[in-house]
């Protein structure tokens, strides 16, 4: 037998089984297998098979596995998200920005329809500013942060992003003690349901204040929703944000 050339009659003879086996495998592994697995899963693990949905007072408020956006002071905040416009569970995604990306570190701005400059991508620098101010974390800044506040006392995010991106003397804003990475970086899925325990601890004071309770009361709740490493060595300790916030609402309802 020489190398290469496939004889024509050989090839044609094999077309029949090729067509038939493609059909057979489609029925067996593409229809029967998933159908049977669905049936068994519904019987044995109905809650998980249907998405681990969480019900509060008869209403479905989310899934314990899927992160959701929280912005109010009285709730623990999840990680930044690159899924759609944030925690879009039809568009899971990371930022896919690399370690030398100016966009990732310093953010970008763009012009909207009315030619106003708005935030295009917030960037880690701006997230650090918000995190420090929201949670009363001491910081040092090369330019006093009051210079970035508008007449209402709100932060001017566009101005901050421009200051971070300034070529000559960029804004240097650093917390006095390092803050956890997960607080200001986007997850791989954009739907990470967890934050690190340190991140939760740092937010406890803000949550307590907004609910008019003591930080210790909030901190006592955190361990109940903290998972340690699986089997003692796999993965990392983590706090489930949705479940913790549901418990907060039950134990310490926020005053309207």
């Amino acid at each position: 037998m020489g190398p290469g050339r496939i004889k024509e009659q050989d090839m044609l003879k094999e077309l029949g089984p090729g067509f038939r086996l493609t059909l057979i495998f489609t029925v067996l592994t593409g229809l029967l297998y998933p159908a049977v697995m669905t049936g068994v899963s519904e019987l044995v693990f109905p809650k998980q098979a249907n998405g681990s949905l969480v019900t509060v007072g008869g209403k479905v408020v989310g899934s314990s596995l899927i992160g959701q956006p929280f912005a109010k002071a009285e709730y623990f905040h999840p990680r930044p998200s690159a899924a759609g416009s944030g925690y879009d569970a039809t568009a899971s995604s990371g930022s896919n920005l690399g370690p030398t990306s100016a966009k990732l570190l310093h953010g970008t701005t763009k012009m909207d329809d009315k030619n106003n400059e708005i935030v295009d991508f917030d960037g880690i620098g701006l997230r650090i500013v918000h995190y420090c101010i929201d949670n009363d974390i001491p910081y040092q800044s090369s330019i006093p942060i009051d210079q970035f506040k508008d007449s209402h006392g709100d932060l001017d995010e566009v101005k901050l992003i421009k200051a971070f991106n300034d070529d000559k003397s960029p804004l240097a804003f650093t917390p006095k003690t390092p803050i956890p990475q997960d607080a200001v970086t986007a997850s791989a899925s954009g739907l990470d349901p967890h934050i690190s325990p340190t991140n939760a601890d740092l937010q406890a004071g803000r949550v307590a204040k907004a609910r008019g309770i003591s930080a210790d009361q909030v901190k006592q709740l955190i361990p109940q929703f903290t998972d340690r490493a699986d089997l003692g060595f796999l993965g990392e300790p983590r706090v489930n944000v949705l479940m913790l916030n549901v418990a907060l609402d039950q134990h310490f309802p926020a005053s309207k």
């Binding site: 089984p17 297998y33 920005l97 880690i124 325990p197």
Partner: protein
């Protein structure tokens, strides 16, 4: 690096060692046609498939017939997948109404070039996805087109490996087995049973498995959140076991439904390696010297451990620019440190680095963290793994046949050094085998480097069909060296049939869909056909007795020679390109340069 992080890698490796022999013995029995404990259940089904398929079980095939059968199955698979995708708007099980006028606004159109690319991708075991499944594929397409190929393309890979092993094991023989029988047995006795158990485990851990439409919930803050559902776990199991890697969701195994817990993640990593590792033992058993198999296993293991620790070290060390901005890079009991952009809290740095190494050692390509956001050296490890043809346990079957091709080159180089005709497991390695081995290795590097070079400079006109105007390099999400890495990774991943990505590249354009499609075809078939040619040639040869002049290929000397061959061939071929990508970016990062 922490003790706990090192322990995760070490314990995972111990588990791989532990499952290698049982998996190898079982596959040996299956492919030698011996009775297994699964025969009472699956033997009648096996016979039925042969009867329906028109396959004569006892018939043996030459390597040419074997190749023809393999190509036949691949062609019909391609056609089925292509048609199911293009017609999905008219078919059932499409609750998100993709490819119909009622499709959601963020849905991706199923264009001919996208359907072509995806059909090639899944029939070649690559699972490169230039689309986002969340917004593109109906349940039916996922199950009956994509997941089926996850079974079939995996079975094809294993069948080719088994055929190549028979080439070594047989002597003065004209045939290397029956392709249809090998594929059917692999699917029934190996893939399906493991997938059934793994599916249930994943569901128990929290993966979804249903045919319901998306769940719309009202969040605690009163917003509306649409959570997609579907038959995920069954596809997840074969995606890992078959080293396919194509995600049910865009975020792949980083998605909490697709990888709910670190424990589920451990099983996913074991599923990637189990068959590739088991095949090394089966190889030794079939050539009647299990030490030959363990020598291959040892070479793979050493490269695996080196890659895993380098990647973990780089990721845990993190990005010094983020440290300067006031982020914690040191691991503490309460937070993961390192580089957490594109990583999930439940997995952290060591597990994500380990998974990235495993998924590219094998040609799986599933991810639990975004490789695009890794540090440059952390991202270099997966890239180099793919470029050296994924010989570390490897894609199911593909890993072993690729490694055996490197073994042919290694004994050839060894033979040149001592001036004797090279031999491997009792067969003389001659001109034809070496030529075929070099064709296989060269073909992939030509398309990887060639297409990357063209895309780096090719200009596209305004209003053209192939790509948006300007250079194809503009489709990347990052600039400079990192953008180059995104293109290099894309073509490496395609030709390596891996399917993972530096995902910040917009590859869903006719230009990328076509070139990456061709890249995948070359990487698959110009590797398999030379491998089968080697099998046919070896099978026809006589066994040569071991003499004092034979270079032993079952000891540590050969392990070193084999690793050296893989690394030298990889380094010589790809070092210039890697220097322009991750290596230069590493120094830019250390010097605080942004782009």
């Amino acid at each position: 690096m922490t003790l706990l992080g090192i322990a995760q890698i070490a314990i995972f490796f111990v588990l791989v060692v532990a499952i290698t022999k049982p998996a190898g013995v079982f596959m040996y029995r299956v492919f030698e046609g011996e009775r297994t404990f699964l025969h009472p259940v699956f033997r009648p089904l096996e016979r039925l498939i042969y009867w329906l398929g028109g396959v004569r079980e006892e018939e043996e095939q030459s390597w040419v017939r074997y190749s023809a059968s393999m190509i036949s199955l691949s062609i019909f698979s391609f056609i089925f997948v292509y048609l199911l995708q293009r017609l999905q708007g008219h078919l059932p099980l499409n609750p998100m109404h993709f490819s119909t006028p009622q499709a959601p606004s963020n849905a991706t159109a199923m264009t001919p070039d996208l359907a072509f690319n995806t059909a090639v991708s899944f029939t070649t075991n690559t699972n490169w996805q230039s689309y986002s499944p969340d917004t593109t594929m109906s349940y039916l397409t996922q199950m009956a087109a994509l997941a089926v190929q996850n079974f079939v393309s995996a079975a094809v890979g294993i069948a080719v490996a088994v055929a190549l092993i028979r080439g070594f094991a047989r002597h003065t023989a004209k045939t290397i087995g029956n392709f249809w029988v090998d594929v059917t047995r692999c699917t029934l006795y190996v893939l399906l049973p493991i997938c059934i158990l793994a599916t249930l485990f994943f569901v128990a851990q929290g993966s979804i498995q249903n045919f319901k439409g998306p769940a719309t919930v009202t969040t605690l803050e009163g917003a509306s959140q649409v959570i997609e559902q579907g038959p995920l776990a069954s596809q997840l199991a074969i995606k890992m076991l078959g080293t396919n890697g194509g995600g049910y969701f865009n975020a792949n195994s980083a998605h909490p439904y697709e990888n709910p817990t670190p424990l589920a993640n451990l099983l996913q990593m074991l599923l990637i390696f189990v068959l590739g590792a088991g095949l090394t033992y089966m190889f030794g058993k079939m050539v009647r010297d299990t030490r030959q198999g363990w020598a291959i296993f040892a070479a793979m293991s050493l490269m695996f451990l080196a890659g895993a620790f380098i990647c973990y070290w780089a990721e845990q060390r993190g990005n010094p620019m983020l440290t300067n901005m006031g982020l914690e890079h040191v691991y503490t009991a309460g937070q993961p440190g390192g580089n957490m952009e594109g990583k999930e809290v439940r997995f952290g740095n060591p597990m994500t680095a380990l998974f990235a190494t495993v998924t590219t050692d094998a040609s799986c390509g599933a991810v639990i963290g975004m490789h695009d956001s890794f540090t440059p050296i952390g991202g270099l490890v997966p890239l180099f793994n793919i470029q050296t043809d994924e010989v570390i346990f490897g894609g199911v079957g593909a890993g072993l046949y690729s490694m055996l091709i490197y073994a042919v080159v290694a004994v050839f180089i060894g033979g040149l050094m001592v001036g004797r005709t090279p031999e491997y497991v009792g067969k003389k390695i001659e001109q034809k085998e070496v030529k075929m081995a070099i064709i296989a290795i060269l073909a992939t590097s030509v398309v990887i480097l060639g297409f990357t070079a063209i895309s780096s400079v090719a200009p596209f006109a305004k209003g053209g069909y192939w790509n948006s105007p300007g250079p194809a390099a503009a489709n990347t999400n990052n600039g400079a060296a990192h953008g180059f890495s995104e293109m290099l990774y894309a073509y490496s991943s395609g030709a390596g049939n891996n399917g993972s990505a530096f995902a910040g590249i917009n590859a869903n354009t006719p230009w990328y869909n076509l070139t990456i499609g061709l890249d995948m075809l070359v990487g698959r078939f110009l590797f398999i056909i030379p491998a089968l040619a080697i099998a046919g040639s070896l099978a026809s040869k006589k066994l040569v007795p071991v003499t004092s002049g034979t270079l032993p290929t079952n000891g540590s000397l050969f392990v070193v020679l084999l690793i050296g061959t893989v690394i030298i061939v990889g380094a010589l071929t790809y070092f210039p390109a890697l220097s322009l990508g991750p290596i230069v970016e590493h120094f830019q990062m250390l010097n605080g340069k942004l782009f």
